[in-house]
């Protein structure tokens, strides 16, 4: 019973904070609600016995990526709600239509998918040791490609941020 109640509470908080990110008019408030959403998801990852990914979620997303977001909001002075006007236009009903279409399809598909029982979680599936071992043996080439991608990303953002010399 306890596990279901915990999941229910976490799911409600996650959905409400995601709604706050989308429907808040203030970008700073959106960013802080996004941090709350990331923490909630990290807790859900812990209940899925994915400890390592949960810790990484807090460190990488709630730590690094959100600091980057808040830094750019501060740098560009976008904190006030009317920095970018938010008009009502044709996009809005269209977005809701498409969104609810996707939602109905996804929910119908995931409810049709019946998994009879919950398998016993293997105790060390989510530990850093097992994931690291798989990452450096079976997934070594994708890991190297990820390193190349991150290097290209760093070089690209430095080139973009540099002022022209002339």
């Amino acid at each position: 019973m306890g596990e279901r109640v915990l999941f229910f509470i976490l799911a409600i908080v996650a959905i409400l904070s995601a709604g706050g990110v989308v429907f808040s008019r203030n970008p700073v408030r959106s960013a802080l609600l996004l941090v709350l959403n990331f923490f909630t998801l990290a807790l859900i990852y812990f209940t899925l016995s994915a400890q390592f990914i949960g810790a990484l979620q807090v460190i990488v997303y709630a730590g690094a990526i959100m600091v980057l977001f808040l830094f750019v909001i501060m740098l560009l002075n976008l904190g006030s709600p009317d920095a970018v006007p938010q008009e009502r236009d044709l996009k809005r009903p269209l977005a809701y239509l498409i969104g609810f279409g996707i939602l109905a399809t996804l929910i119908a598909q995931s409810l049709a998918l019946l998994i009879p029982g919950v398998p016993q979680a293997s105790p060390d599936a989510g530990t850093a040791r097992v994931i690291g071992l798989a990452l450096f043996t079976q997934w070594a080439y994708p890991l190297l490609l990820m390193g190349v991608l991150l290097t290209v990303g760093v070089i690209g953002s430095i080139l973009l941020a540099r002022r022209r010399a002339s």
Binding site: I15, V21, V22, I131
Partner: protein, 106 residues
């Protein structure tokens, strides 16, 4: 009978994904659009981890976790480049309304 069924995780993931998708379309502030993209990536991560939890094979479970790690890496690179582009856009135009940006038009 205690545990949460897989469908519950998938429905939560669907809700988060659709919220992100609606936000990307209706928002005009590019930073909030990026936040909504992060929401969508996190929804997909949640369903990866839920599917991994409901595998019986250890190798399949670890593969799900490794894939989530790769999504983390892609998200980090995307945010770095995207926020760089927003900064340059603001420097050139003093306005970052996405409906008025035509810099990439050929």
């Amino acid at each position: 009978m205690d545990a949460v069924p897989l469908n519950a995780y998938l429905v939560l993931s669907a809700f988060l994904f659709v919220m992100g998708a609606i936000g990307v379309v209706i928002k005009r502030n590019p930073i909030v659009m990026f936040m909504c993209i992060e929401l969508m990536l996190n929804a997909v991560n949640l369903s990866f981890l839920a599917f991994a939890r409901y595998q019986t094979d250890l190798l399949a479970q670890v593969s799900g976790h490794v894939f989530v790690l790769f999504v983390f890496g892609v998200a980090a690179a995307e945010v770095a480049v995207g926020l760089g582009i927003i900064t340059v856009m603001f420097r050139l135009r003093e306005s970052i309304d996405v409906d008025e940006v035509t810099l990439l038009r050929g």
